[in-house]
C-alpha cells in the first residue's frame, strides 16, 4: 500500500513520533494541570514541553498556544470566539468547510454578515478581492494559506498586512502549509489554526490554535481547567480559557515530537523532496490526452496536485487506484467553495505526498494512472 493521501493525515509517522507516543502512554498517564502528585506533575511537564515546542515553532508564547482536537476545532474556536459580538467577516473562496461552515452558520443566525473573497491564480487579483470587501465593521478575515484541494498558495502575508492596516483580526488556516513552510505569527497572523496530524506528523486528534493575544477569543466550550476551581466562570487566562476538559497529552507529545522531527530533518529539505515528487508526477502525466491537472502557471503551489482522468469520475479513479494499492483522496475534499471556484463539478483526485514517499512510488502511480486512462470504459 502506498499512501498519497497525506494532505488528510500523514502516514506513516516518523519513528521518533511513534516512540514518543509509546513513551507517553507508558509514562504520562496523569491528568495534566490538575493534580499535584508525581504522576500528574510529570504529565503536566510533558504537556508544557510540547506546548513550548509548538510555540517556538510558530513564534508564539507558550501560554498563547492552545491544543485542540484538530484544525476544524481550532477554526471554530477562532471564528466563533472572535465574532461573538457580531460584525462582518470575510473568507476566501478556497476555504475548507472547517472555516466556511462556522462562518456560514453565524451568518444564517444573523449574528454576522459574511463576504467571500474570490481567489485567482494571480496573487494581486486575490489581494484586491479582499481589499474591495473590507468595510468599517469588518472584524475578521479568514484565509487558508494553502488550498487543501490544489495546494494553491494564497498571499497570506499581504492579506495579513491588509488586515493590520485596517485593524482587522487575521485568522489563518495553516492545515496544508504548517510543517512545510516556515509560518510565524509575525507574518501578520493574529490567530493561526492548524492540524497536528498532517504536516506536523503528530497523531490524529491533534490540532493547534496560536494567538498573538491581540483579539480576545470567547470560549465556545466551558468546563474544568484545573485552575480557579471555586469560580463558576470560565477563567480568562490562556490557554485554560480555551482548553476545558482533560487534554490529549499523548497527542500533544506526538505533535512536539513531530515538530522536532521536522527540525532535525530540515523543513527546506522536506519541502524540496515533496515538491520534487509533485514535479515528477506532473511531468509524468504531461502531454497525456484525457488527463487534466489543476495547476495554473500564474499561481504558486504547496506540494499537492489535483487531477482527473477526464473519462472517469474522481471517486471511480480513486477506487481503481486503491485496487492497485494506491491511497488517494477523491471527491470534494470537504471544500465546497474551492471546488465551485475551480469549476470541478465532479470533484478531483488529490495527490499529496509526504517526506516518506519515494520517486519510485510516484513513477508507479503515474504508470497506473496512464493504464486507467486507457481502460476500455474510460
Amino acid at each position: 500500500m502506498i499512501n498519497f493521501d497525506n494532505a488528510a493525515t500523514t502516514f506513516p509517522k516518523p519513528l521518533s513520533v511513534r516512540r514518543a507516543a509509546a513513551e507517553a502512554i507508558k509514562s504520562f498517564g496523569g491528568n495534566a494541570g490538575r493534580g499535584g502528585h508525581e504522576l500528574a506533575m510529570r504529565t503536566s511537564e510533558a504537556l508544557y514541553s510540547a506546548r513550548e515546542t509548538a510555540a517556538g515553532f510558530f513564534g508564539a508564547a507558550p501560554e498563547n498556544t492552545v491544543f485542540t482536537l484538530n484544525c476544524t476545532h481550532a477554526l471554530n474556536m477562532a471564528i466563533q470566539g472572535v465574532m461573538s459580538e457580531g460584525g462582518h467577516i470575510i473568507i476566501s473562496s478556497m476555504e475548507h468547510n472547517s472555516a466556511a461552515r462556522p462562518a456560514v452558520a453565524l451568518a444564517m443566525k444573523k449574528q454576522v454578515t459574511l463576504s467571500v473573497a474570490e481567489v485567482f491564480p494571480d496573487r494581486e487579483r486575490t489581494l484586491e478581492s479582499f481589499r474591495r470587501l473590507i468595510r468599517s465593521d469588518t472584524r475578521a478575515v479568514v484565509c487558508t494559506i494553502a488550498s487543501n484541494v490544489t495546494g494553491q498558495l494564497l498571499p497570506y502575508k499581504e492579506i495579513g498586512q491588509l488586515c493590520r492596516e485596517n485593524g482587522i483580526c487575521f485568522i489563518a488556516d495553516g492545515a496544508q502549509a504548517c510543517g512545510i513552510y516556515d509560518i510565524k505569527l509575525s507574518d501578520g497572523i493574529n490567530i493561526l489554526c492548524t492540524a497536528g496530524h498532517k504536516g506536523l506528523y503528530g497523531i490524529t486528534g491533534t490540532g493547534l490554535l496560536l494567538t498573538d493575544g491581540q483579539y480576545p477569543i470567547k470560549p465556545i466550550m466551558q468546563g474544568g481547567t484545573g485552575s480557579n476551581s471555586l469560580s463558576l466562570f470560565q477563567p480568562s487566562i490562556l490557554p485554560d480559557s480555551l482548553e476545558s476538559g482533560t487534554p490529549n497529552v499523548i497527542g500533544a507529545v506526538t505533535v512536539g515530537a513531530g515538530i522536532n522531527f521536522i527540525g532535525s530533518y530540515g523543513m527546506n529539505r522536506l519541502r524540496t523532496h515533496e515538491e520534487q515528487l509533485c514535479r515528477l508526477f506532473i511531468e509524468g502525466l504531461e502531454g497525456t490526452d484525457g488527463i487534466t491537472v489543476y495547476r495554473d502557471a500564474a499561481a504558486e503551489y504547496a506540494p499537492i496536485v489535483s487531477f482527473n482522468i477526464d473519462a472517469l469520475g474522481s471517486e471511480e479513479t480513486a477506487e481503481l487506484l486503491s485496487e492497485r494499492g494506491f491511497c488517494l483522496r477523491a471527491g470534494y475534499h470537504c471544500a465546497a467553495l474551492a471546488h465551485a471556484t475551480l469549476g470541478t463539478k465532479g470533484g478531483t483526485v488529490r495527490f499529496a505526498p509526504s517526506v516518506f514517499n519515494t520517486e519510485e512510488e510516484v513513477r508507479k502511480l503515474v504508470y497506473n494512472v496512464k493504464i486507467l486512462k486507457n481502460l476500455p470504459n474510460s
Binding site: 493534580g35 508544557y48 507558550p62 480557579n228
Partner: protein, 70 residues
C-alpha cells in the same frame, strides 16, 4: 500562579537564572480556588522583576522561614 502553564513557565525562567524552585499544587492560590505555587528558596526580589518582565501573572504569598512563594 493561576495555572500550571504559567507555573512551569515561571519555573523555567527562574531556574535558568539560578533560582532553585519547585512547583506545588495548592487548593487556594487565590479566592477563586486551586492553582499552583512556585516555591523559591531565598529572596523573591529579582524573581518578581523577572516574572513581570516576561508578563507572567503572579502574586507573592508569605513563605516559611526560608521560603518565598510566588
Amino acid at each position: 500562579m493561576p495555572s500550571y502553564t504559567y507555573a512551569v513557565k515561571a519555573q523555567r525562567l527562574l531556574r535558568a537564572r539560578g533560582y532553585p524552585c519547585r512547583i506545588r499544587r495548592r487548593e487556594k492560590t487565590s479566592s477563586k480556588g486551586c492553582g499552583f505555587t512556585v516555591l523559591i528558596n531565598g529572596s523573591c526580589d529579582g524573581a518578581e522583576r523577572l516574572l513581570t518582565g516576561y508578563a507572567v501573572p503572579y502574586s507573592v504569598r508569605g513563605g516559611g522561614a526560608d521560603d518565598d512563594k510566588l
